[in-house]
Point group: D4
Chain length 224, copies 8
């Protein structure tokens, strides 16, 4: 029944090519893993010279597990993120601007910022620039217009994505957050709002997915 078939060399090579080309760190998504599983992965990293890795969605217990094996790893508790090695690579490519509509969106924005930074981009974070006070976002026009890629983290109405995209020529990576009252439905409201942004130049990642937003922005702003 089973026919003989060996994976062609090109496949193994495929992945190697990709890692080498990108120079991007691997990511370990901790949320669905036990502390023991996370610790085992961290222990493996200690043995390898060149393995840049981000641990995302790490709760305090996950963090302890990583730090047991990699005591010098960077730990950004507010973003639920650990990075190994702790020093980010030298910056290259264009500026990534990260905007948090409100203070409650900060953890997601920080995850995006750190991810982009550990992929090698220069980053700048601006907080509390929601559209309820337009002057706040308009005050940051110089930042917005100097960026090659912009991450907008916003919950509730998610309106900041449309407003920002209307002001700049750089692509906007919108990340809806689960911040808000009942009918925000855990981020569904800003997700739909951002998908329906009335200004072109907006694309959307998953709810609360700061890692994905930062990664996408870093790819956009890479030198090619």
């Amino acid at each position: 029944m089973a026919e003989p078939w060996s994976p062609p060399p090109s496949f193994a090579q495929l992945d190697h090519d990709r890692t080498a080309r990108r120079g991007y760190p691997e990511a370990v998504y901790c949320a669905g893993k036990t502390s023991d599983q996370v610790r085992a992965i961290a222990a493996e990293l200690r043995e390898r010279a060149d393995a840049a890795t981000l641990f995302t969605r790490a709760d305090p217990e996950h963090a302890r597990a990583v730090l047991t094996e990699l005591p010098n790893a960077l730990h950004a508790a507010d973003a639920g993120l650990l990075a190994w090695p702790p020093e980010p690579p030298p910056t290259s490519g264009g500026l990534v601007a990260v905007l948090a509509a409100g203070t409650s969106d900060l953890p997601v924005a920080r995850e995006a910022e750190l991810t982009a930074r550990y992929l090698g981009r220069p980053c700048e974070l601006a907080v509390d620039v929601g559209v309820a006070g337009l002057h706040r976002v308009l005050n940051r026009l110089d930042l917005l217009r100097s960026a090659h890629a912009i991450v907008v983290a916003a919950g509730m109405d998610g309106a900041l994505a449309s407003v920002v995209a209307g002001l700049v020529s750089a692509p906007v990576v919108a990340v809806p957050t689960s911040v808000g009252y009942g009918a925000a439905f855990g981020g569904l409201a800003p997700l739909l709002s951002m998908l329906n942004a009335c200004a072109p130049g907006v694309a959307v990642v998953n709810i609360d997915n700061g890692y994905g937003a930062g990664h996408m922005a870093a790819q956009i702003a890479a030198n090619r």
Copy 2:
């Protein structure tokens, strides 16, 4: 089994009180009715001296049915609305400003405008003021700030409601429209966005419900 019970006079009186007090026209929602049913209602109106009435959601066939009985009725085909008698009442109360984010939102905005006008308010309509070009809405700040109530009709991201509410002190009645691509889900996206407006002072009516928005705004701007 059934106990004897006569409706107390106060009930019949109840409704009479209300109509007299409001001086607001009745509304006939045509969408679920046959042309014959609509025509019969129009015929009854002809007999009554004082019955101000709006026919909403009237398709061309509904309109013909009304105009057969009430040839002088006002017919605003773009808003799917007919009014009897054709002359609106004299204006009283504060200004109602009606904003349509884009041209596609115009039918709903017009329904709101005409409703508010037939309830007696002075009205002004501004079109194509979506947030993708902030200068467009900011150019209408004088209008917005002179209004006692503001209707915002917007589809897609519905972001205009938040932006406007952040600029004025008058209450904003937001009406989501079913305009937009797939994930607008027939108006669900702007509905949720408006319910989650990050600026206070926004309340929401049903999708495409220009009549409800205009009615609410007229009540808000009434002299009391």
Copy 3:
């Protein structure tokens, strides 16, 4: 890439204008913030003479953080709200009536009542007036008809909004609550019910958003 652009003075002025005009307190939404962040905001307020502020969605820990810095702040634990300064402004404008369909809707109704009061309106609260016993709401007709704006807080079927709107000429601000059995889906049932109110004169705010409802009602009942 980034063009030179300075935020025009009119923007900074914009916000100042708005605050001055409204005389409305700022609101700090505590739900997504750490106690430390909330405390820092409270500490800033202590330094400012004129900053009226409401802390909404404050859990006991948030409350402790505020009271550490502002020991005299009003704390309404049932509504999850703190107010600074503790004295509400003198009343002006029309009466805001707040209705809670059942006892379980009381926290949301109280948040609405206090918000409207701290925005300067006279308020009156009526509880346990659900439509399962019509006489209860009909017994409050005098209250309802003396109000310039009415807040209706109801979960389950949300039917109270329609019934009240059919009895009065004042605008009704409906706030669905997350009270109820399974298919209430966390407030979705009364939200949809209120958006589809068969009587005109109803507009809706977010689920459990007593603050938003009270704010909207206070704006409607303001003297203009």
Copy 4:
């Protein structure tokens, strides 16, 4: 593989028992069937002496197909229903009251009324008794209180079910209709509202399912 097994006689008997016991007509749901399929069923009926049958959800083409074979069948075009034989059985059991909140709910209410009548119950229909004008439903209290089962057909907010259940001791069978603006979502709003009725004594059938409501009400009001 297949073990020998003969359906025991008790099964065939099962169905016969049931039909005999109920004396209720069969129902043919036309919506998913071709005209030819419907016509073939009608032709079969012509051959059988005792087969009382309702054709539900019959569009004009379905109706023509039935009437070709059974020219004397009753055809209630407004309810999309045909009945064979055309005469309903003599009435027995208690009164079924059927309420339509508005004119647009009439087709569903009529389907319920006719179904209950063809199952043998005395019926009475009341239209335009929505809660936006409470006096209208209160004017029919005598009808409501003389009924053994009450069908409430309502779209939009579906609030009539709660109000009626609060006024009577008979069970209420609520049938949501797909009447309404956008966020009625094809009847979802009244469906959820009725499932969350704040008065006990309400149970719900499918959206627009007048047949199901009338059937259930007839069963409730049967003499047992």
Copy 5:
């Protein structure tokens, strides 16, 4: 603005009429109430001679609060229900059969059973009669066919409601439960399934609403 209006005597009388006629106990929905609120209600009951009352959705803390004031109240912990006075009324009317598809549906079924019993009906409960083993439900045909009203509590596919309704002539009150794996979505799957029951004679109450199901069944089986 507010016209003088006194609640007509008929309203107060309305409620009294209703309570007297029904002889049904009041219900206190504990889920949204604090223990103090529940205890206060219990204390009031102690003062009244004739107030039959059910406390539903009572968690252990709610139960303690009730029992502090009414130590002799019946407490059915498995159903989250307390009854005062503890003795149910003498039975009258027809039999109410309550079916639980599986053991996990038992709490809801028990709530239904006790409610119907405290409204005065004779009741019988059958457990573990899910359709995965048809012989289990067919073994209870004698019970099903002797009942005047049948409550079916089922989660997952909710298929039991259709199967039972196809076997009997009594009305079936279906109560979906929140039992099941992921795509049961908290009871949505059986709710929709039951609303779409392919056999007529099924009406549905809210998810996990054993109280509502038992109440409806008791009304159906009442002597009239």
Copy 6:
């Protein structure tokens, strides 16, 4: 930027292997294609000796396009399916039983039956075996127990899948249909019901996807 990379021979070979191994026909999903596109595909087939192909979801215009190029193709209009070459392969493997709960489910069931037959399985179709009359499905136990795979096509409550799975040891492939009243929500109700089948041995394909169901069943019943 782009590195040189040639698709390794193993890939092209991959697909060839697969087609050869399966001996299953290709399928052309017509629904999203123009008649011209479908005709062009049919024309290509004419040139190839060995290309067994099914055209699924073919409306009358699609069918005409195919038959223009392949006049001898089998056309099953009721199932929206065309097959080329017209003769199915000789049967092999176990029996596939296909059940349609009602007449309205027949098009989907027929699509499943024909697909399984054109993949080489012996098939038998049973119609009108819904659970509202249990004797109907129990009368087909011999068929069910002789099958190696069973397809159950049902709309509304989808309960037939659970009932059948409880009676047999063969795997059940359940295909929900979009048949039913409003709250069937285009097949969502039976989809969820089937995913939550209380009997093990049920797996589900997409709504109305008779092709997918027949294909899966044919794979299950294949000789291996």
Copy 7:
């Protein structure tokens, strides 16, 4: 009213037939049961010689309850599963391959693997074969092609099911997991993705339902 009817012997026999034929263990779904209920079931098993049983969705407390009565039962804590008797039956039938897209999908995959093994199939589990690195799944082609049935457990995009089905001729049983960020909506995303698999040969079980997937796969791979 109730007609005399005795359950025919064939029914009792029905179930016995089925158990005997299948030789499959019973399953006790622990999630909705108390520890006491689970313990009582375990105690009953101790008395019976031949009762193979799986306890699924057993949390640590459930497990303790089972092990108190059946100390030798197998307990796979990672899969929330206990088996009695502890030794699986001798293997028969074809190979069941179980794939977990990522480490977080492992508990569900393990539940599937153990279920299939306790139904008598030989099993092999492959982890971390998600499509983000195609070489990982392509490296397992020999496993995939030697299997008679394949279980694919995947969260997030659920894309692995389509990719695998495109590579093999065996049927794929897809089980979506609740792993992932916000818009995975508790497994809804992979559920819909798998139902829409672009390759034929995929059928889907409930979210996180490893037991159902393993059972279905074991039935497919059984010798018949």
Copy 8:
């Protein structure tokens, strides 16, 4: 009430700056507009020398309206798009690769391709590269790896986005299409799948929004 306020010059300037900087064409979304409105816009364009404009979602009637005024405009009927002036600008920036999973996704993919081309990017389109046959997409690795931005248009399971993102370092703009059977729910299935892509480097635009995808990709691949 309304304070004097003039829009500051900087706003008007804002928009001018933006248009000048981007050199991107304006877009007219035809779907919600009448033919007369579209024609009026086209007529205005005729008067302006430099106004590059795309008309998107143009049905045949919209197209006729545009061509009446601008007979030389490019009309791509398959993409529902017209462009004025007809010649795209000279290419600049990196390559945009556009992938259509199947033929049915072609209209959306073409809209993306043409949009990117009219924004000035070189483009290449590859069709029929769905993951059901991995060799098809792997055969296009050279194209994928030479692109600066990749648009993936796919319906059904949307799995192509994850697979492509795992093979390249360029950002992937995913556009779900409304192609597919019932539980695709008009594009919801691929939308959720793409938002949950298991490979980083994917961001998503609205369902069927080829224009938005092409615009975003063109911005990403621009020279900066």
